[in-house]
Symmetry: C2
Subunit: 331 residues, 2 copies
């Protein structure tokens, strides 16, 4: 009815309701005006039953308020909206304790795609619960990982290789004479943290350095602060702290400067991971290993669209690398 | 079929799929196991057409990655999930430029409820686009605002009164001998920022102080940093800076300490707004006016549930107040 009244195609009407598809502004305006007069809105619940698509993308995270994840969700929501998808946010616990219930619940919304970090939800669990959407995992491959098996559960994957950025960081530390490095780890079972530690050990061995001391954080500020205090008060100290993420690096820096009265970078050098927006704040001005956020989001959207267009494709994969952003905490 | 096989009621089956409703663990496990064997999952698209409820709550924000909003979304998603709702995230622009398109698009998902900040989407626009959900606005009432009219568009409201926290902050500043206060404003048209400025002027006048100088920020770190530099290099300086939010306060503090070489709190005192998680970090240790996040989220969930249970109710309202959290940036 809207199409007839506006003298346009049905496709044009459908496009008019998606804010980011291209359509002449005057045409869109006309369609929206007529649609409003007719009180017409495309009902996605009804359409979903016909088309089999809900235009919902589920994103599973443990903490929206971690700086890194909130920046990821922000960019992802913008990019998905531009493609006509809405972001459905699900919170899980990092200990896998609510996986099954959460997934049964999530499945009811029938998302077209689901994005998860491999450390938050087990791939086998997620694959078992989704009968339609093929999940996308953001993963940090480890040496010795089995090859993805053609016969195994079907999921797509975004791999983030950490070697380049870590190698650049260690080279910089070495150039400033650092010998004793402490690795400030993230949550115990986290593959991201484990992959960072493994890569750090490998790079340091290749460069003839002694292996790092490992101190335990949880990706948060407070645990990093306390672990750093313990390292210098109870432990053996270090020339440099390599933190599993930027927020941990902030906690370490505040412990060094404000409580231990040590100077950064003169007494202890600090490197972070992620390059979140806060890393450039003057109180920190952190040298850090960057995952390019825009690149990551573009890759995820490509994976979603490719899978929807070719539902029968075997496992899809994209791979991104990291690089060092040099600021003021090494030298 | 699941209910029959598990020898439970249909209600129990429905509850089993909602992770947070109370149900004996062994009962839930049995139901989920049988449901999985039968490959059964409640399809919400189909159910929505029957029940008229989608179990989706739309949340409209301009920046997920602002610290304040991400903490809000995190807490809200957890609370909504506990009530069986999923959070549908929509990004808008602060200049209202994409309102109509976004709302037409959003309406297609047919959310049960929509939460918006009054400064991001005009109430009249939103009310016009939603035919079913009654929007909830988070608002900062201003003196002289017209009373909500019974005859006007229907929307529910969460009011945040800023007087108490601001009055406590000004009293503390006054106690430390502050005379010249600069108000570091947020985005130009923001009602939150305007309400803070208006209340600050009122409180300062009541306490016999000269009105504050206003410097312009945008709720972000970088603009706050630059505005503070300008205030001291080009402008007349100040004894204290009252920032429109915590992130602005961080930018101001870094400008004072790292660029202007002034001490906080000895030379210039700083007060923020919000009490986000970063406010307690040692580099800032900020004295700030707190909106209790948990209280706010509980009030929003109460409004959603009350509206769904009594769709014909007139405008619902909840009102919260603020209070000062004293840390190290005033004295």
């Amino acid at each position: 009815m809207v199409a007839t009244r506006a003298k346009v195609s049905r496709v044009a009407v459908s496009r008019a309701f998606n804010p980011h598809t291209s359509l002449k502004p005057e045409k869109r305006e006309l369609i929206l005006k007529i649609a409003q007069e007719l009180n017409y809105t495309p009902d996605r619940a009804a359409r979903a039953l016909v088309s089999g698509r809900t235009h919902l993308v589920g994103v599973i995270v443990p903490d929206v308020c971690s700086n890194w994840e909130s920046q990821e969700i922000d960019a992802l929501t913008t990019a998905l909206q531009a493609e006509g998808f809405a972001t459905l946010l699900f919170k899980t616990r990092t200990d896998y304790s609510m996986d099954e219930q959460l997934l049964a619940y999530m499945r009811g919304f029938n998302p077209d795609s689901v994005i998860a970090f491999v450390e938050n939800v087990k791939p086998t669990t997620l694959t078992r619960f989704l009968d339609r959407a093929v999940p996308i995992y953001v993963d940090y491959p480890l040496p010795g990982d089995p090859e993805p098996q053609e016969s195994g559960p079907l999921f797509d994957r975004l791999n983030i290789l950490q070697y380049d950025g870590i190698d650049q960081a260690v080279a910089l530390l070495q150039g400033y004479g650092v010998e004793r490095v402490a690795y400030l780890a993230g949550v115990g079972k986290s593959r991201a943290s484990l992959a960072r530690e493994t890569t750090l050990r490998k790079v340091m061995a290749e460069r003839g350095m002694a292996p790092p001391t490992v101190i335990q954080g949880d990706f948060g500020y407070d645990a990093a602060y306390q672990a750093t205090i313990d390292l210098f008060r109870v432990g053996e100290g270090a020339d440099a702290i390599f933190a599993a993420n930027d927020v941990s690096a902030f906690g370490a820096m505040d412990a060094l400067r404000h409580t231990l009265k040590l100077r950064v970078p003169q007494d202890v050098r600090v490197v972070g991971f992620d390059d979140i927006a806060q890393a450039h704040w003057k109180s920190y001005n952190l040298t850090t290993v960057k995952f390019d956020l825009d690149e990551r989001v573009r890759a995820l959207v490509r994976l979603i669209l490719r899978r929807l267009n070719t539902p029968q494709a075997p496992c899809l994969e994209e791979t991104l690398t990291t690089r060092l952003v040099v600021r003021g905490t090494v030298g």
